[in-house]
């Protein structure tokens, strides 16, 4: 079974976390750099995404092609993404290749070329991604929902917008890098078949002399409108609903997310049962808890043909309201079974664990073991969740729809 999580904070503020896992042959890493989209100015939305793309177009002694070729020869299955707070780089490979992989990523963090002659290509890639969202209406409605629910810039889509991406200059990309790539606030999680002492020495050699920089935190701006319809030529109407919740580090988090699990976790959950199974209203319906460090919400989605969209919205809002009347013991029992088996299966995946421990540290300042998480879930009671729901009933909904015609959103929403 998994061992305790090891951690080391370097003098420059960089945090390294490790979770050794005996049962796997792989090792995975997850690097969170505090350079996400909230640090962009409003007229340069997408700057973090283009910067992220540019960091991979050559670093240290490698040009763009050598960077990818070397990682692929090391068997690294890699990925990168930009969220509001962080730019993330992660991957998994055979355990013996982790040290060489970390050496390459240290170059990316500290010595990216950010070459002028690659900017057009990186910009085109970002523009293509923006266009593709237009062909994926379910994705689009959820981006627009988050944009309206959270105060700016915390709901801003990391993909940016066309005008801003077209205007980005190489100086702005270099500025984003110089201002924000720093050891203080950067978190590296490694998990799997790892040698902790060796990993700590290696990361120290590569990154301990990285100089910290202070950066201002983004302040909360305006929130968007609460109800909006976006016209779109399509068969289906996409429905996005958001309402208040508490973030991961809040003492009520497990009660709040437990209630969401009763709404939408497994096929016996309320939304799937009432909206899809009993009424056949849609193919996809779900609710999920979405957390940032200081704010959170519940995001719900349903997509259905336009003539049945009103009924789908009404039934979905009805279920969201009904949950404030309380959950049943058997619902909690099913939720616990599902979450706990999920935790055990997480213990079979080095990638899941390297990402989870890095995120935990960001939210909590420490990382929870699978056993600790299991205990927190075990400790949940029906009365605790119902008490939370009574005090915090789902209401004050933000509703965004996308499709051929607007829907009636009840005033009480």
């Amino acid at each position: 079974m998994p061992q305790p999580i090891l951690s080391h904070e370097f003098e420059n503020g960089l945090v390294l976390l490790g979770e050794p896992m005996e049962s796997v042959e792989s090792a995975a890493f997850s690097i969170l750099v505090p350079a996400g989209s909230v640090y962009e100015s409003a007229d340069r939305s997408g700057l973090a995404t283009v910067t992220c793309e540019m960091t991979q177009r050559g670093c240290g002694k490698r040009d763009s092609r050598q960077f990818i070729t070397d990682l692929e020869n090391l068997g690294v299955q890699r990925g990168e993404s930009v969220a509001s707070a962080h730019m993330s780089f992660g991957g998994a490979t055979l355990a013996k290749n982790l040290p060489a992989t970390l050496r390459i990523y240290a170059d990316l963090l500290r010595r990216p070329h950010l070459p002028d002659d690659q900017l057009d290509a990186a910009r085109l890639a970002a523009l293509q991604e923006l266009r593709s969202i237009e062909d994926d209406p379910s994705h689009k409605v959820m981006l627009e929902l988050k944009r309206r629910y959270y105060p700016d810039p915390w709901g801003r889509p990391s993909e940016g917008d066309v005008a801003a991406v077209e205007a980005i200059t190489i100086e702005e990309i270099r500025g984003h890098f110089q201002r924000l790539f720093r050891p203080n606030g950067t978190i590296i999680g490694v998990a799997g078949q790892i040698d902790w002492a060796a990993a700590k020495d290696l990361v120290g050699e590569l990154l301990a002399d990285w100089k910290p920089i202070s950066a201002d935190e983004a302040a909360d701006g305006e929130r968007g409108v609460r109800t909006e319809h976006l016209a779109h030529q399509s068969n289906q109407t996409q429905i996005g609903i958001a309402y208040h919740s508490v973030p991961y580090r809040h003492p009520d988090y497990f009660r709040a997310s437990g209630a969401v699990g009763v709404l939408s976790g497994g096929m016996s959950a309320r939304l799937f049962t009432e909206v899809r199974e009993k009424r056949g209203l849609c193919y996809t319906v779900f609710a999920s808890h979405h957390t940032q460090r200081d704010r959170a919400c519940v995001l719900c989605y349903a997509g259905t043909s336009s003539e049945r969209a009103q009924e789908t919205l009404d039934v979905t809002l009805g279920e969201l309201r009904r949950i404030s009347q309380g959950i049943l013991p058997e619902e909690l029992a099913r939720l616990k079974a599902r979450v706990k088996s999920g935790l055990i299966m997480q213990g079979e995946s080095s990638s899941s664990r390297s990402g989870a421990i890095a995120r935990d540290w960001y939210h909590l300042g420490h990382a929870r073991t699978l056993a600790e998480l299991g205990k927190l879930v075990d400790d949940l009671t029906v009365s605790a969740i119902n008490e939370y729901l009574e005090e915090n009933p789902p209401n004050d909904f933000t509703v965004v729809t996308l499709g051929p015609a607007p829907l009636e959103v009840p005033v009480a929403a």
Partner: protein, 412 residues
């Protein structure tokens, strides 16, 4: 790690890769039925039936089914493709017998008319959902043009018209023919007590009646062609290209995977460097798909419509150049490194292994360990890859292009 097999008297086979060190258990019923076993009248019935299987049995309502899976904390689902319908669950090892009992019960569904009518609405919603996501539908048109009259030309989802016209009796008849125990394999991976698995299967599946049902496996005779479909609501232009490739039983399928990785992997391939890296395409890839007695290479590209014609030219140029000059030793080595790592990482979880063990058995009736696959990839030479290129040239595709463009010139 130990592979075990057994067979019930009625023909149902049980195969499992047992790993005592695993934390979890994955189980699945692999039914040898899919779109290729349908007729025009029942197009889409395999997939619709997959949904109906979760709607209950003589002893369980739909709610009971969902509740019982969730009570075990199971991670479960099902999928249908051209050749198989698979029902699977990943659970903690102590739930092995109850998971087998539940999945086995589902394999004898009630197919109640009321549930059928409700679920039909869900399927029609699923079809509408995909219809709003270009290039949906065009891959099926391309498949139909490529395979011609061959059974693999059929659509898995069916159309709104074919699903709308289906009735429950037609589904029952299809079920009786296709869900015979001789047509079903129970597959396990992870921590498995094999004798317990077999005993439970015997109790739950031993009485299923056997029906003799064959499946024609004619060779495919693909047709090359170039087609443009205008969809003015789409933002991006999409191209799908199909060419012949090795079948599921051909030894050169490993060389085909290497070729597809070198030319068209999502990252670091020739298509990547010439189309994706310069920002000309959002996505461009080449994959090899294997079927019983048929196989194909599938190229998929999405891009800003402005670059579509140029991109098609570049793809054709890359394929012509690869046939003329071959691939390099460095490319071969890089592809092997990538594939090896993917095989090992993809096999760490029992639910990853389940599909591999199951596919090997239903396609070839063979067991292949992770080591077998790694060795097969390691053995591939430049000569093997060149032979695949000669036998299955990528330069004579069936191409469908869909997006806002009304016309576009063929690159060939």
């Amino acid at each position: 790690m130990e592979f075990k097999t057994a067979k019930l008297k009625n023909g149902l086979e049980i195969v499992a890769e047992c790993d005592d060190a695993a934390f979890s258990t994955a189980l699945g019923f692999f039914v040898n039925t899919g779109a290729r076993d349908e007729t025009d009248e029942v197009s889409g019935v395999s997939h619709f039936l997959e949904h109906m299987v979760f709607k209950g049995t003589p002893s369980r309502s739909a709610e009971d089914v969902n509740r019982e899976f969730d009570e075990m904390g199971a991670h479960y689902n099902a999928f249908t493709n051209e050749e198989n319908t698979v029902y699977y669950a990943a659970v903690l090892p102590e739930y092995l017998p109850s998971t087998v009992r539940l999945l086995a019960d589902l394999m004898r569904p009630s197919l109640r008319v009321e549930d059928f009518d409700t679920e039909k609405k869900v399927i029609l919603e699923e079809i509408k959902m995909y219809d709003d996501q270009p290039p949906f539908g065009v891959d099926e048109k391309c498949r139909a043009a490529f395979f011609g009259n061959h059974p693999l030309s059929r659509s898995v989802l069916g159309t709104a018209a074919s699903v709308g016209a289906l009735n429950a009796d037609q589904m029952r008849q299809y079920f009786e023919r296709r869900y015979s125990p001789r047509n079903i394999v129970l597959v396990g991976s992870g921590r498995i007590d094999f004798s317990q698995l077999c005993e439970t299967a015997e109790q739950c599946c031993g009485s299923w009646p056997t029906v003799e049902e064959g499946r024609p496996l004619p060779p495919a005779v693909p047709q090359a062609g170039f087609h443009v479909v205008c969809k003015d609501t789409a933002a991006q232009e999409y191209a799908i290209m199909m060419c012949s490739g090795p079948t599921a039983s051909d030894a050169d399928r490993y060389a085909a995977k290497i070729l597809a990785t070198v030319l068209g992997d999502d990252s670091g391939s020739r298509l990547y460097w010439e189309l994706v890296d310069p920002g000309m395409a959002e996505h461009c890839s080449l994959h090899h798909h294997e079927y019983l007695n048929a196989g194909m290479f599938l190229t998929y590209m999405s891009c800003d419509p402005e670059y579509a014609a140029e991109n098609l030219k570049r793809i054709a140029g890359i394929y012509q150049n690869a046939i003329a000059k071959g691939i390099t030793q460095a490319e071969l080595d890089q592809a092997k490194n990538k594939i090896n790592s993917r095989v090992v990482l993809g096999s760490e979880r029992p639910r990853g292994r389940l599909f591999n063990v199951g596919a090997n058995w239903v396609q070839r009736r063979e067991y292949r360990s992770v080591r077998n696959d790694l060795d097969a990839v390691e053995a591939i030479t430049l000569k093997d890859v060149a032979a695949v290129q000669q036998k299955y040239p990528l330069t004579q595709p069936t191409t469908f292009v869909v997006g806002p463009l009304a016309e576009i010139s063929s690159a060939a």
